[in-house]
Every structure is written in C-alpha cells, then in structure tokens.
C-alpha cells in the first residue's frame, strides 16, 4: 500500500504562532463538554443494557404477578401484599425490590465504570493530553455518571407506573396497613421517594467514583462499590451494634418507605441523607485528590 502524503497546510492562521501559550481556540473550560461525554457513554453496551434492564424489569414483574396471581396477604403487612392494587402500588413495590441491589448495581456501574473504563481503553491519557484538565475531566465524568444514575432511578418508577397502569389500572396508593392515599398525594409521595432514592445512592456513587479513579479495572471499581454495599448490609444485620449501625452507608437505604404511610416519617430520610451525603462528599474529595496527583500509567 503506497500512499502519498496529503497536502498539509503550512501557513494556517493558527500555525505557527510563535510563543503561543496554547493552540488556537483552546480553552480549558470548553474541553470535554458534558454532551460529548454523554454521547461517549451512551453508546456503550453496558449503559444500554442497564437501561434496558431497568425498563424491562417492571414488565417482568407484571408477568410474574399475572402468572402467579395476586399476592396473598402475609401475617405482617408488606408492600408486596398490595403490589397489584394499582399502578402506584406496583411502582412502590418495584422500587422496594430494586433498592437493595439492582439500583445499587446500576449506580455503581455508571459511577464506577466511568474513569476506570477510559483507563482500560487507554483513551484516558489522550483526553488528559488533549489536554482536558484533570479536575474538569472528573467533574464532567461525575456529572454525566450522576445524570445516568438519576436517569436509572427515574426511569424505573416511570416504567413501573406505565406497566402498572396497563396491568393493574390507575388508582390510589393502598398502604399495606389498610389506609390509602389519593393519587394526587401519592404522586407527591412518590416524587419524594425518587428524590430520596437519588440522595441515598450518593454514597454508592461516591465510593464507586473514588474506586474508579484508583483502579484501571472498570469491573473492579463497580464490584468494589457493590461489595462495600454488601458488607455494609451484612454488618447492618448485626443488630447488637445498636445505634452504631446508623452510620453505616446503607442503613437508611429503605427509609423512603417511611413516606408510604398515612403519617409520613422524615426522621429516617433526614438521617439517611446526612449519612449518604457525608460519605459521598468525603469519597469524592478522595477521588479528586487522588486523581489530581496520580501518575497516569494506563
């Protein structure tokens, strides 16, 4: 294969400006725009698979209920007993079964994969040499990863509501304890649930993002974050620890259930938010500190 050199311009306006501090048109604050990062991440199989899974889950659950019939009430009333009463009930149930693991995995995936995967593809060094300032790269990646996480946390209830409406009809939210909330109020409560869901996952986001800057193995970062969540859950099961469990990252992840009752409780969610935000802030600081100083050898 013999090719000739393309005609290279020699007297571009941009070139060469003697002593120029940077190339023509380069401005650090314009590097790696958020939408570029969004596009870069969106086409990934991993992203599409996770979003697809979250969109499919409500339908899988609908199918399960259609095949298995309505749940029969247990001795202790739970969300599953009333899961098929209405779309809102179904949504609450879907969130309940997803909060502990699926949503954790989704958030860990979006946040833990983002930097480490660039490292594993070696594309990280070219971004940094573009140069995208390191702090800016992390900020943009964080914003986009958060955006995808929020998308996951919003898509699931939305799709559950659609699937639930088709399968079980629209109606008030029946609480497991017998009372019910009119749809308007229930929708308000559901938005609180979703917002808290996001806040409660901040801790997972923080841990995953930090690990993402530490390791070059994307699955290591995701698995590490999920692993820490699992460990936290296990330790949380040791009730002998008493109030020390309050400080565990995942102790409050189900606190949103507190609004699904006639007399909503805010205590758990406020404490949960405090714990989650605190962990997230520290882990993010660790991430920025580490990434700002580290030698990129990937």
């Amino acid at each position: 294969m013999t090719r000739t050199l393309p005609e290279l311009p020699t007297d571009e306006g941009a070139h060469p400006i003697p002593g120029a501090a940077h190339a023509h048109g380069y401005r650090p604050r314009h590097t790696l725009p958020i939408w570029v990062e969004t596009v870069r991440q969106f086409r990934r199989r991993r992203t599409l698979f996770m979003i697809g899974l979250l969109l499919a889950l409500p339908w899988i659950l609908v199918a399960a209920f259609k095949i298995g019939g309505d749940p029969s009430p247990d001795s202790v009333p739970t969300l599953v007993d009333v899961a098929t009463r209405s779309a809102l009930n179904f949504t609450a149930f879907t969130l309940f079964v997803s909060t502990g693991f699926l949503l954790v995995v989704a958030v860990a995936l979006f946040c833990g994969d983002t930097v480490a995967s660039e490292a594993s593809w070696s594309s990280l060094r070219y971004l940094l040499a573009a140069p995208v300032p390191r702090a800016r790269l992390l900020r943009v990646k964080l914003v986009v990863a958060l955006g995808y996480s929020v998308l996951a946390l919003v898509l699931l209830p939305l799709m559950a509501m659609i699937a639930g409406t088709i399968a079980f009809g629209w109606g008030p939210l029946d609480l497991p304890v017998g009372a019910s909330l009119p749809t308007g109020e229930a929708l308000g409560r559901m938005s609180v649930v979703v917002v808290y869901g996001v806040v409660a996952q901040l801790v997972v986001m923080g841990i995953a993002f930090w690990l993402s800057t530490v390791t070059d193995a994307p699955l290591g970062a995701v698995g590490g974050a999920v692993g820490l969540v699992v460990v936290s859950n296990i330790v949380d099961a040791v009730t002998a620890l008493g109030s020390w469990r309050d400080y565990l990252p995942t102790h409050w992840q189900f606190a949103w259930v507190d609004v699904l009752q006639t007399d909503p409780q805010w205590d758990g969610m406020i404490k949960g938010s405090a714990v989650s935000v605190s962990y997230a802030v520290v882990f993010l600081a660790l991430a920025f500190r580490h990434f700002g100083r580290k030698d990129i050898v990937s």
Partner: protein, 925 residues
C-alpha cells in the same frame, strides 16, 4: 495490559508499578474495613451498659402467714446495693406483676441500684420462691408483707432512715405490683413516694365495668381477662410454689377462689366479690394515699384502662400529694412497653422525692395533678421496623374530660340489636391478653399494631347498631373519654358494647387501641337515656374521616346474657370529644450528627483537597524558548522502589526537526514521553514546550499531538466517531481539526464507520496516529509508530512524518529500531537506562559510512594488504575479518586490491558508530 503485551514490550518497571498500585487499592479497602470494624467494636464496648456490677444478695424474709396467725411464711427477696456508694442510701421496694416473680425485676433493680438506691425485689406470696397463697393484694396479706419488708429494710445498715424504724423508701411495680405500691402507701406512712404502673384503682370496677355508670354491682363481667388471671394463678409451672390440685384453686386462697367461681359461672357480680375486690383496691383507701405518685398507664390496656389511673390521680391529688400521669404505648394488651422511658421516669421520680436530704415530703392541701405525658405513635420507622413513638406533654393532667370539648353530630335511625342465644357468636373488639400470653413484643405487638391497622375488630350485623358522623373538616385529636348519649329500650337487662371507630374515606375502619366500653342498663324496658363513657384514648381523627359509634350486643372479652332478646338503640345526643390542645410534642430535634456529620464531611473533604494540591507548576514562560518546540532539562523520574526510570535527561528539539528517541526496551523513552504529555509528574527537572513548563493539563499541551504506548479508543464507537468525539473533547473549533487529512493518513477506507472493536492492530495504530495529527499540532510525538504496521505502511508512515516536519512543524519519534530512526529522523537522541547516551544530527551520530567490516578467513593477509594503501586510516583485526577506517579510499578499490592480493572476501558491510554504541549498550545490558 493487552495492548502492552501485544506490543511485545515487557516493561518490568511498569509492571512493578501496576502491581504496587493494585496492592495499594487493596490495602486502602482493607484499611477502610478495619476502620469500620474498629469503630463498631468500640461501639459494642461502649454500648454495653452492664459495665458496673451491682452486688445482689438473696435472702428469705419471714412474715406472718396471716392476721393473728402465729405461723410464718418465707418471702423470697433479693437486695441490690448501689455500687460505690458509701453511707446510707434511700431504698426502693420493687414488686412484680401477677404471674411473675422477683426474677423479672432484675434489670430494673440493677438500673435503680446504679442510680444510687438500695433496691429490694421480692416474689409476692404464692409466686416464685415465696410461700403462702395468693390473696390478691389484700391489706392483711400482701400489703402486710410489704410492710414487713419495709421493717426489714429499716434494719439494714445501707438504708437511709427518716427516723427510727422509718427508712426513706419508695415503692414501685407494675399491675399487681402497682396496686401493691398504692395500697402500701395507704397503709404504711413510712412510704415516701410511689411509681405504680398499669394498675387498678378499683379491681371490682376493672373486672366488672359499666360505662353507663352503674358500678360493679351492675357491671359486665370481663370474663376473658378474669379467666386468664385465674388460670395463671392455678396452672402448674416449674419453679413456682406448689399447687393444691385437689381444689383446682391452685395458689389462690380458697376465699378468692370461691368468689371467682361464683362470678365466672353467673357472669354477674356478687356483693361478696365486690367487697373482696374493693378491699384489694386503692379505691377503698383513696383518702389515705398521700405520697408523691407517678402514675404510668398503658394505652393498650383493656384490663386496666386509662380511667383506672385517672381515678387514682384524682384521689391522690385530692389528698394534696403531687401526682404526675404518663400514658405509654404499652399496657396489658401488649405494644411497646417503652421500658427505657418508664425506667428513666421512675428513676427521675425517685430522684426528685427520695434523694434530697432533709425531711420527706408531706402532703398538703388538695392540688391539681401535675404534668401529663402521652406517648403518641407516628409512622413506622423502616430502619427499626417499629412504630415511632413521640411523647407529647403538658404541665397539667386535666383528667379524661380534657380541657376542651367538641361535639360531633351522629346520624342514624333507631336500630334493633339482637342478642344471640348463648351470647354467641360474638363481635370482637380486641383479643384480650394477647400481650400477656405472648410475653412482651411478639404477638402482643401485633395485637397492638392491629389497633392501627384497622385490625381484628368487627361487629356482627344484626347484633349491632351503627351511627355515623359527617366527615370531620379538620384533624381532631381525642385525648380522654368521649361520651355518647343513646336511648335504649326493649329489655330489662340490656348489655351493649360501645365502640368508636375512625373511618377513613376509603372505608377502612380503625378501632383505636381495640377498646370497647361495656354498658349494662337495667329497667330499660320502656326506654332509658344513658350516657356512655367510651374508652379513654389518645387518637387523632384525620380530616375527611368519619366517626362511627357502634353498639353491639356481644363481645369476645365479656360475658353477655345468654337469653336471646332484642333491644332498640337510638341516638339521644351528639358525641362529645375531649381534647387537651396544650399537649404537644416537643421537637426532640435530630441527633447532633444529622447536621454535624455532613459538616464534618465537608471539612474533611476540604482538608483532603487542600492538602492534596499539586505543587503549583506555574513557572513563568521562558522567552528565549518560545520558538523551541521542546526543551528538556535535567529530567528525572524515580519509580517507587527507587529505580530511576529517567535519570537527568536533557535535550532539545528545534522546529522542523524529526527527532528520533532511540533506545532499547526499558530505556525510559515512554516514561519521558508520558511526562511530556503531563501524564506523570517528574521528580526533578522540567520539560518546556514552546517555553512553557509542562504539567498535568498545561494549556500548551494543546499544541502537542501524541501517540504513546498504543492507541486508546472507545471500542463501541466507529473510528470516525472516535476522532470526531476526541476533537470535540478538546473544545477547539471544528475547522481546525483537518479531519480530511487525518483520515487520509489513517487510510481506513470503509472501515472508518465500523466499530473500533472490530479493527486490527494496524488499523488502530493508524487511527491513533491520525488522532495525534488532528489539528496539525506544532509538536507531534509518536511512540513506536510503526509497530504493527506492514512494510508498505511503514514506508508510507515515514513519508508522512518527513512531510509533516517539512511544513515547519516538529516530530518526535521514539523507537528501539535503529533502521527506522536512521531512515526517518533528522536528529537522534540515544537513551539507555534512563540516561542520555548520545544526541545530535543523524548523520553525525550514524557517521558517513566510512567504516567497513570485511569478512575474510585470512585477516592477517588482509591487514598487510590494506594498511599501506592511500586513503585508508587504520586497519584492525576483528572476529571473522578486519575493521577498516577509510580516509578517502573507495570501497570498490579496496575490494579490488584485496582480491588482487589473493585475499578471500566473504562480505563487505558498512559499520556505523551508532550501531557500535548500540551494540555496546545492549552488550552491557
């Protein structure tokens, strides 16, 4: 890693670093886990409140078997002495509930002892290890026992005395023990303060209640509860006093037993029964209980409902003694006993009245009751899976009538209520004694919870009359006993059970605390108006809810007439709802860490970020170097472990040059280039590009195009998308990119629109070089650009690079291949083991080809032939031939000379200095 191995470049140093890096991550995670476990371990240690041991001694105290009886029976007691208290301390006598023993009091006793009290627990006669028979808190028996124990306490050296034989003593207990506290306070003036819990004022009234006000003589027998009580006193059970199985009276005294049987069989009270029960009740000595009293009553209590405590409070306040009222979430029907709160309140109460020095408090003129605390249930806390409890309080306990009354109209026609023959089937309010049967928690909690769940209460149609209110227009909090007026007619002996339900808009009904008020009306054949005092509750009716008054002929917990009859029930007035608006839940606020933790986290984060800042690489631009594409001075990089990867490296590149960075694998070339890209920080020295110091993210890097250590692309995107997104990531104008030229260099053709994942190594390589050339950077750095390319591509690449430099731009190429450098570069820098070995124009370094290696089997002859020839500098032997340095002679002439002299020539090759240097280096390594 795969790319690196694909390139066949086993960088030992890099691998070492990766390994240490990974182990650092592992170490970090481990450290985190250790910290968490350590913190939690401390928590366990701190959370253990049994740290201070309390000395406990068991002894039997002999008391009179009965009034005027010379026989004595042994009471099993345990004395708890406060640890670390010298001198005498006030005493507390703790009595247990019915069916229990002193063992259940151990925790409470230890807690009180730790608060500085000498505590005496004991098993009442007929229970636990004590002898005797159950007399139901009769003054001459159980109360006398308690007085004897106070005598015993007065003789103890640890106990503080108010006078000779008069200890400073308080009495506390729940249920059976609570009534004993009240009765002992009435019968023994030495008692200084009491804290009775969930107990009765009038046992006759509690077991034969009548909410229409007829008194126990006309009461409705609470058969379920009475039966549970009786059976718990008769059933054999391990470790308890022996039972007389002949009579079936168990541990009960015969008199108590006989009376119970009469009532149980008839379902109606007898004067003897009322008399016996009254003697065992504070009501009989209501005017004599005049010590500070803390009344703690449970809201889930169908045995001793809140009105029992209310009447105790009223009586004691009348006597001028301080009284405070606490309504807990527990009670005989179960629910949360709030043990910690009860313990704290009890301790605080005794601290207030027993601890102060000086004379014991004396009752004065009749006073109003003191403070009032009500435990209200909020929602369920998902973290504990328990209902959250909040405590509302106010300064003054107003009684069950509340401080404000509100009338709510009921509607409903006159209805006929049929009493079924045999009194069955029955309607249900609650399941009495579930809490007792199941112990604390467990089923009891379920029963209590059921009150809020809408639960198990139901009313048989035909046996029940229903009256309902309109929807209430705002939230109404009922605190106290609501009253209803109804007109009943149709029979001489009418028994009804009144319940007030809270009906949600959806129809779900809640019977607060599962309580029903039994009503017996006599002589109502022609109709009588009665006022019904409904069960006392603290319950909020939400706006939009209705209230429903139900009068039903039967209830599972009570005896109702066996004769089938029917009554007529009609409304005779509105419902009156009492409330205590001044009761409010003091905001407990949140634990400090709710706000403190995020603040601490932010502080820690700031500290991490501020201390973690890189030393500012804000060195001023060097004006002399603004036209010099690259200047490296004293560059040093030391890997962890101390090995120098780059050692004091200095060289410069001028515009228009193609510089070859030559060295064997591991010479430090890639490390140098990584530092050049700002990816790793040098330990010493500096790199300047166009006079600007390079560091992470230095803007001048935008004038650099680079391809180092393999391509880096997003595998899920096509080559075109990769380049396009990469350029967009630089934020620079689209037209500056020169995509067409770059794509032409890549030469990928149609593959450009396939995912990079599908590319071959060479295709990726070319795409990466094209990416490096995007924007036509002033300085192009390529690391081993020809790796993975086939010979024609290598050649094309060479042309590209030479042409690129010809435009006035600068190219730096690293390679471990001499030939490549020689053919492509104008200048060369040779590195080995991180050090600069040689640098200069290629021609200078490579030499001009004037050293020849001549292979021959006869070197001596060759030397002799050549050494005197003109134009030959020197001739030396070498393995397999001779080395000739030319000084003007032509190679062909030399060969002709040798052949002419009969020297056999195997081969003639040019020897260059660079190769010499290189071979020497490699030979060294």
């Amino acid at each position: 890693m795969s790319l690196r191995t694909a390139f066949g470049r086993p960088f030992a140093a890099v691998r070492t670093r990766l390994t240490t890096r990974r182990s650092r991550v592992v170490a970090g995670v481990l450290a985190l886990v250790v910290v968490v476990i350590a913190v939690l371990g401390v928590g366990v240690a701190v959370g253990d409140d049994t740290a201070t041991p309390v000395r406990a001694t068991e002894q039997r105290v002999d008391v009179a078997a009965g009034p005027g009886d010379p026989a004595r029976i042994g009471i099993d007691t345990t004395l708890f002495v406060p640890p670390g208290v010298r001198g005498r301390a006030p005493a507390v006598l703790l009595a247990h509930g019915f069916g229990g023993s002193k063992a259940e009091l151990r925790r409470d006793a230890e807690a009180l002892a730790r608060s500085g009290y000498v505590v005496l627990t004991y098993s009442a006669r007929g229970f636990g290890g004590s002898a005797g028979q159950i007399m139901l808190d009769q003054p001459d028996y159980e109360v006398a026992d308690a007085r004897a124990l106070i005598d015993w306490l007065a003789a103890r050296p640890e106990v503080r005395l108010d006078g000779p034989g008069d200890p400073r003593v308080g009495v506390a207990g729940a249920s059976y023990g609570g009534a004993l506290s009240l009765l002992t306070a009435a019968y023994d003036p030495r008692v200084d303060a009491i804290a009775p819990q969930i107990t009765w004022h009038d046992l006759a009234d509690a077991l034969l209640p009548n909410a229409a006000g007829g008194g126990p003589a006309e009461g409705v027998f609470k058969k379920m509860w009475a039966g549970l009580f009786f059976s718990s006193g008769t059933s054999p059970s391990a470790g308890l006093a022996p039972i007389d199985t002949k009579t079936g009276c168990g541990r009960f005294d015969d008199r108590v037993c006989t009376i119970y049987r009469e009532v149980a069989v008839s379902g109606k009270s007898t004067p003897q029964a009322v008399d016996l029960l009254r003697r065992a009740s504070p009501v009989s000595v209501a005017d004599r209980i005049a010590v500070p009293t803390l009344l703690i009553q449970g809201q889930n209590d169908s045995l001793f409902p809140l009105d029992q405590a209310d009447r105790n409070a009223a009586a004691i306040a009348r006597n001028g003694a301080p009284v405070e009222m606490v309504w807990t979430a527990g009670g005989h029907d179960g629910g949360r006993p709030q043990s910690a709160m009860v313990r704290d309140r009890t301790t605080a109460w005794f601290d207030r009245w027993l601890k102060p020095s000086g004379p014991a408090p004396k009752a004065g003129a009749p006073t109003a009751a003191g403070s009032f605390r009500v435990t209200r249930s909020g929602g369920v806390d998902s973290a504990t899976r328990e209902q959250r409890l909040r405590i509302a309080d106010t300064d003054h306990y107003p009684g069950l009538g509340g401080t404000r009354q509100r009338e709510v109209a009921l509607a409903g026609p006159e209805q006929t209520v049929a009493n079924p023959p045999g009194g069955a089937p029955t309607s249900v309010s609650g399941l009495p004694g579930l809490g007792l049967l199941a112990g604390s928690g467990g089923l009891g909690a379920l029963a209590a919870g059921a009150g809020d769940l809408g639960g198990i209460a139901f009313d048989l149609p035909g046996q029940s009359a229903f009256f309902q209110s309109d929807r209430v227009d705002r939230n109404v909090r009922i605190t106290g006993s609501p009253t209803a007026r109804v007109r009943v007619s149709g029979a001489d002996d009418i028994v009804l059970f009144a319940k007030l339900y809270d009906i949600a808009p959806g129809g779900a009904s809640v019977l607060p605390h599962q309580l029903a008020a039994p009503v017996r009306v006599s002589g109502a054949q022609g109709g009588r108006d009665v006022e019904i005092r409904l069960p006392a509750v603290d319950h909020e009716v939400d706006s939009g809810h209705r209230l429903r008054l139900v009068l039903t002929a039967t209830d599972l917990g009570f005896a109702s007439p066996n004769t089938p009859t029917s009554y007529r029930v009609a409304l005779a007035g509105p419902l009156t709802l009492p409330s205590v608006p001044r009761l409010h839940v003091a905001s407990t606020g949140y634990a400090w860490w709710t706000w403190g933790l995020p603040l601490i986290a932010v502080a820690v984060a700031l500290a991490l970020l501020l201390t973690g800042r890189r030393r500012a690489a804000a060195a001023a631009p060097d004006p002399d170097l603004t036209d010099v594409p690259l200047q490296i001075r004293g560059l040093t990089k030391r890997y962890k472990g101390g090995k120098l990867a780059v050692d004091d490296l200095s060289f410069g590149v001028e515009a228009g040059q193609v510089l070859g960075l030559l060295g064997p694998n591991g010479a430090g070339k890639t490390t140098t280039l990584r530092m050049l890209m700002g990816l790793i920080l040098p330990d010493g020295g500096e790199i300047r590009i166009f006079g600007r110091v390079v560091g992470p993210g230095a803007p001048v890097l935008s004038r650099l195009g680079s391809f180092v250590e393999g391509p880096g692309f997003l595998p899920h995107l096509s080559g075109r998308e990769n380049l396009s997104l990469y350029w967009r990531a630089t934020g620079r104008p689209h037209e500056d990119a020169h995509f067409d030229e770059a794509l032409e260099i890549a030469g990928l053709g149609e593959a450009l629109d396939r995912n990079v994942r599908t590319y071959s190594q060479g295709m990726r390589q070319r795409l990466a070089i094209a990416q490096a050339m995007l924007g036509l950077p002033d300085l192009l750095v390529l690391d081993e650009p020809t790796n993975g390319l086939d010979p024609p591509q290598i050649r094309a690449m060479r042309d590209v690079l030479i042409g690129y430099a010809a435009t006035g731009r600068t190219v730096v190429v690293s390679s471990h291949l001499l030939a490549e450098v020689e053919q492509t570069c104008t200048h060369v820098v040779v590195m080995h083991r991180g050090r600069l070995i040689a640098s200069g124009p290629v021609g200078e370094i490579v030499g001009n080809g004037n050293t020849l290696v001549i292979g021959t089997p006869v070197p001596d002859l060759a030397i002799a032939t050549l050494k005197d020839l003109p134009g030959v500098g020197s001739v030396e032997p070498e393995e397999g031939g001779v080395l000739v340095h030319l000084a003007g002679a032509r190679t062909s002439a030399l060969v002709a000379e040798l052949v002419g002299a009969g020297v056999a020539v195997d081969r003639v090759t040019a020897r260059r200095r660079l190769e010499d240097a290189f071979l020497t280096l490699i030979g060294e390594s």
